[in-house]
């Protein structure tokens, strides 16, 4: 009975076996790349690491609805799962983590996690929190002005809703019914500050005040996120306006490699959330539906680990930019 019910879930979303395996593979790739980056940090090779661990379902479930290179993504610094799904590779990620010249995001100029790809319409990301929201609204307005069905997706953590840019963008998106989706990955912590000191009331409910739908979704359930994002993308493409999605999730690592989270949260809390790990949950779903047995899972994991090892090794051996390249490309030539 339970299996019948869950099986109906992905089928009712129009997802086939290959879709599910692709979702799973990308979640696992994001996790393995992330884990490898911490090793590089501990080895002294990566100066700074910032993680997506715990948020893979929220990211992959959303991004799977996008048309890479057509729709626009304004990611935030944890969205490596999204950028990997849209077409960046583990090699791209390691080139960025190690600051190498070939890094397609910035050529070694930006910290890791500051994603960019002109080809994939991943708009260059910043460190100040929340600045992407007005930009995404503007990008959505351009689609609307030209009568195109493109969508702009913009993401941030729960703390990114505390500043004015978020309100300005939500208001503007509501006024003009813009094809923009605000994905808030509520992972409970802004470095050390918990969401109870960050967020009054409900983030999702705020959308009502701007006259568009806001949905709260289990951010560790990739199918639930996929469903919410599918509806949001459909609305945007049809010209029905914006959607706010609040994906409730949890940051499984410290804020970054420079942070020690033992100063501000209990180990027990993390262990509780580990039981809700989005990858383990999806493995369970796939297993229950007879789509992935232990052998297949192991084979896929070995393939991914080999790819990640190769990508890491490539990036470790790749050259840095020459020092004087820091002086180039300040202004674009007319």
């Amino acid at each position: 009975m339970a299996i019948e019910k869950t099986r109906a879930r992905h089928e009712s979303l129009g997802l086939g076996e290959q879709d599910l395996l692709k979702l799973y593979r990308h979640m696992l790739v994001a996790r393995r790349v992330d884990e490898r980056s911490w090793i590089l940090n501990r080895q002294g090779k990566a100066a700074f690491v910032i993680s997506c661990q715990g948020q893979e379902a929220a990211q992959i479930g959303t991004a799977y609805n996008l048309r890479p290179g057509y729709d626009y993504l304004y990611p935030y610094y944890r969205d490596s799962g999204m950028t990997l799904l849209l077409g960046q590779t583990p090699r791209d990620q390691f080139l960025s983590i190690l600051g190498k010249r070939e890094d397609p995001n910035s050529g070694g100029r930006q910290m890791p996690g500051h994603f960019s790809s002109r080809r994939l319409n991943i708009v260059t990301a910043s460190a100040p929190v929340g600045v992407q929201y007005p930009q995404a609204a503007g990008t959505a307005l351009a689609f609307k002005m030209r009568g195109e069905d493109g969508v702009a997706v913009t993401c941030g953590g729960e703390a990114s809703t505390s500043g004015g840019d978020w309100h300005e963008a939500m208001n503007f998106a509501g006024i003009h019914a813009l094809p923009v989706i605000f994905l808030i990955e509520n992972n409970v912590y802004a470095i050390s500050v918990p969401s109870r000191l960050q967020v009054a009331g409900s983030i999702a409910k705020r959308a009502e005040g701007y006259d568009f739908p806001g949905v709260e979704v289990d951010g560790n359930d990739v199918l639930a996120v996929y469903e919410a994002a599918k509806e949001a993308v459909g609305r945007a493409r049809r010209g029905d306006g914006p959607t706010l999605i609040e994906a409730k999730t949890y940051r499984m690592t410290a804020h970054s490699s420079d942070d020690d989270d033992r100063r501000y949260r209990e180990r027990e809390e993390i262990e509780e959330w580990r039981l809700k790990d989005p990858i383990i949950r999806f493995e369970k779903y796939l297993s229950e539906n007879g789509l992935l047995d232990d052998g297949e899972k192991e084979t896929m994991d070995q393939e991914i680990k080999a790819e990640v090892a190769e990508a890491s090794s490539y990036a470790e051996n790749a050259p840095f930019a020459e020092p004087e390249e820091a002086l180039e490309r300040v202004y674009a030539e007319a």
Partner: protein
């Protein structure tokens, strides 16, 4: 060719670019039906519609941030900040975002946006409709800051700014909007964003100035020539960042004396940068200390007229400074 004031010239520049390129658009507070508080965008919404001439909410960070987002998706927006004094909420979007997109993406993302902002003291304007904010932005590689003074230059430079692939802050001294008229070419007149303009040649002193102060300096230069036989070279930077150092240095190397005049607070000003460049690069040609004249270091111009007049360098103060330098 017809006679236009600065305001009309900027209006015409906008309208011509919008006719020539359907990706050019205007957004800001009151730019639509009202045509802007200064009437710069008057009639544009009637001609181009409410989307391409878009009234935005009162939110400067949104105005610039959304312009940025429009620009990376095929548009060439001209964002209007109603008064330069109100630009600080957009500071992050200008300094950290627009000015750094190209560099931080290693040349992948260009940001063809123009941000128009009326600046400068005007009677009745008081602290928050008067400020000269250029120095805040002239320390930001990746951004161009232009401040043309004369109508023909302004129209041509606005067109250059709109066509430029980089973010350009376009400053308009509001007290000069209707001050003079001059012949403004219909089209074809081009002024690049990296060239200063020599308004007057002279052997005795060099004055570098822009905005309302430039008009005063030119008048005083004529007077000093007539009454004292002192010949003043007057150079207008037109683009404040990056500076056309060469034209300024060439003039100072001929006269050996430099006075920089602006309406901004002197400390930390663009005038200070010009003075530093000349002191370093033309030291051996100098016959006098480099001088600066500007507003005193008080927050901004006051509302009451006598106090406002005390803030802005007067023709008398400018004349005294030029004479002092000539006689040094």
């Amino acid at each position: 060719m017809s006679e236009k004031n600065l305001l009309q010239a900027i209006h015409d520049g906008l309208a011509e670019e919008m006719r020539a390129d359907e990706t050019v658009m205007v957004l800001g507070e009151d730019v639509g039906r009202a045509g802007g508080v200064f009437r710069v965008t008057q009639g544009l919404q009637e001609e181009f519609g409410p989307e391409r001439v878009l009234d935005t909410p009162l939110a400067e960070s949104l105005i610039v941030g959304s312009a940025l987002g429009l620009s990376v998706n095929g548009m060439r927006p001209v964002a209007e900040i109603q008064f330069a004094d109100f630009i600080p909420p957009a500071f992050d979007q200008i300094i950290n975002e627009a000015a750094k997109f190209y560099y931080r993406s290693n040349g992948a993302w260009t940001v063809p946006i123009t941000i128009r902002a009326p600046y400068g003291v005007v009677p009745g304007g008081a602290l928050y409709h008067s400020q000269s904010i250029e120095a805040w932005f002239c320390n930001t590689p990746g951004l161009k800051v232009v401040a043309p003074t004369f109508p023909a230059d302004a129209k041509a430079m606005l067109k250059s700014a709109i066509r430029d692939p980089n973010p350009v802050l376009f400053l308009e001294h509001k007290r000069t909007y209707r001050l003079i008229k001059e012949d403004v070419p219909e089209d074809g007149h081009e002024v690049p964003l990296n060239k200063a303009r020599v308004h007057r040649e002279g052997e005795d002193i060099t004055v570098v100035s822009y905005g309302l102060m430039l008009y005063t300096a030119l008048e005083v230069a004529g007077k000093l020539s007539d009454e004292h036989g002192i010949e003043t070279a007057v150079v207008e930077p037109r683009t404040l960042y990056p500076l056309d150092r060469e034209k300024i240095l060439n003039s100072v190397k001929k006269t050996g004396k430099l006075l920089v005049i602006s309406e901004a607070n002197v400390t930390g000003s663009v005038s200070g940068e010009i003075a530093a460049v000349v002191s370093q690069e033309a030291f051996e040609w100098l016959d006098a200390p480099v001088m600066r004249l500007g507003a005193p270091d008080v927050p901004a111009a006051a509302f009451a007229r006598p106090m406002m007049d005390a803030f802005v360098p007067s023709a008398e103060k400018i004349e005294a400074a030029m004479l002092e330098l000539a006689r040094y």
